[in-house]
């Protein structure tokens, strides 16, 4: 390698690293540092910003805030579990049961709601579940019920919405691990007399664990940080923590308290993701792929 070539290597390296550094420092590192700093500031009587724990003390002293926090965390874990239960048979069907041709069509169908965007699909569920909605209309015209079911603006509709927007992110990673599962393992187990349940719990589930972990992390993160489904489908009593943050920023303009809440949400989500990675021995970069 002559010196001229070495010089070129450096040029390329700097050409690549400078834009990436600008992106990461100015759009990721500094904003989150600012979030942390803001969360420890309050305005004093003179209108100056001073250091204080008041925003965090507010969170722990107001029952409504930490109850919302706990509810958001438990519901997010529950929706993640639900997504796994719903998604696993589908992922298995698409990779191992149906023909390749059917599968590629169904995968297309699976991806459309994702690309259409959450707002449109949440709106679709409002149209379906409302008191005058499509489902109530069908149930009443067929005479199954006389009065409309109250489905919209309940925890039920909120969970439907959260599940709908996140379930795909459970299906895809599980599919990609199942793709590499050799069918002959299942055939061998079957020949040796293993029941479906044994094959499922002893071969298929352990094999697809990396996909399940990736899927769970992405679903959990999407659900805990979601705003549209709780806000539009959950109604006034949905008590989702992101709504507190939105209120602080866009309604009451208490940005410092909002920053503290935002930081708590970040701690909660990264804490649970970290725990999931530790317990499963998986790396963050596997989640992305």
């Amino acid at each position: 390698m002559n010196s001229n070539n070495k010089y070129n290597f450096n040029i390329t390296f700097y050409l690549l690293v400078v834009p990436v550094l600008i992106w990461l420092i100015f759009m990721i590192v500094i904003p989150h540092a600012e979030l942390l700093i803001s969360s420890f500031q309050v305005e004093d009587d003179m209108g100056d910003m001073v250091f204080s724990f008041a925003n965090y003390i507010e969170f722990f002293s107001q029952q409504i805030y930490w109850l919302t926090f706990v509810k958001t965390a438990t519901y997010s874990i529950a929706v993640t579990l639900l997504a796994f239960i719903v998604a696993f048979p589908i992922a298995f069907y698409l990779t191992k049961v149906t023909s390749k041709k059917n599968a590629s069509f169904l995968i297309l169908l699976l991806l459309i709601p994702l690309w259409v965007g959450e707002l449109v699909t949440v709106y679709g569920w409002m149209v379906l579940l409302g008191d005058n909605g499509v489902i109530n209309h069908f149930l009443m015209t067929t005479g199954i019920i006389n009065d409309p079911l109250n489905m919209l603006y309940t925890d039920f509709s909120m969970i439907i919405g959260l599940l709908y927007m996140s379930v795909l992110f459970m299906v895809i990673p599980i599919m990609s691990t199942l793709h590499s599962l050799d069918d002959s393992l299942i055939e061998a187990a079957c020949d040796l007399g293993a029941s479906k349940w044994v094959i499922f719990t002893r071969i298929i589930i352990p094999y697809s664990m990396p996909g399940i972990i990736s899927g769970s992390i992405i679903v959990f993160m999407l659900v805990i940080g979601d705003y549209l489904a709780p806000n539009l489908l959950g109604g006034k009593h949905s008590l989702w923590f992101t709504e507190q943050i939105y209120n602080n920023f866009l309604t009451t303009f208490n940005w410092n308290e909002g920053a503290a809440f935002g930081f708590l949400l970040l701690l909660l989500s990264s804490g649970i993701i970290w725990l999931a990675l530790k317990l499963s021995g998986q790396k963050l970069d596997k989640v992305g792929s």
């Binding site: 550094l21 992106w23 590192v29 459309i112 690309w115 149209v127 209309h137």
Partner: protein, 284 residues
Amino acid sequence: MIRSLPNSSFYRIAYGAYVFLFFSFLVMPLLAISVLAFNDSNFISLPWNGFTLDWFFSATDDRQGLFADEELLASIVTSLSTGFFVAVLSTLVGTFAALLFEEEEFQLKGLLYFLALAPLVIPGVILGISILLTATAAGNHIENTFALDVELFRPSYWLVVLGQFSFAATYVMLLVSARLKKFDRTLEEAALSLKATRLEAIWYVTIPFLRPAIIGAFVVAFILSFSNINTTIFLIGSDPTLPIDLYSRIRFSSTPVLNAVSFLIVLTISGLAIINFFANRSKD
């Protein structure tokens, strides 16, 4: 259980029914909004009163169709142009990041890679408020020191572009990296031994190999931008993007024009998906 093994008919039927139910669950909301976009009624609900295109073309006071609604059309234009700039910016930086992390060795690589992946696990809300706080602090600082009012540092069009770029670049990086992993590095080395500079080797050898992934990533970044609301809502200035406009309409003044817009989105996306489907099939 799998293709090659026999199953009881009960198992097959039950499994098939479950899969059918699941896909009905997926399609139902999209179908409902699409059908109601053509219902001759002022309310977004059944019964079916007959077919109409009023919610697309009518310009009367009580029925303002999509193509007569200037506010809505303006927000569509805003979203399209925002999406374009976000896609350009994040495709560039995301591709640089992919090349950097796949092909270069340097100090702190692990830390930088971790930061580049962070937007995957940071809720969009957090990204939105962090960038808002930082931009505002920077804007106030500049205003106090230089008595200058820089629009970029207030909620505005370009702040939305930057905010959406901050996470879209991560997705571009992952898509391009996935293709780069399949790249035969000896091709680049061959170019280098034929006296190409490193930059020439990347430009003439690596980039053409990556082109399908880069185009795909551009489309993904565009769609991420076009549908984003969690981050955008904090950064928006005087001109709302389409999702923000639709969101405030859903909350305050719904008419079936919402269905008309939604229908067009569903139609466009399905069209793109089908084109992509057949393009991939003809390749196989």
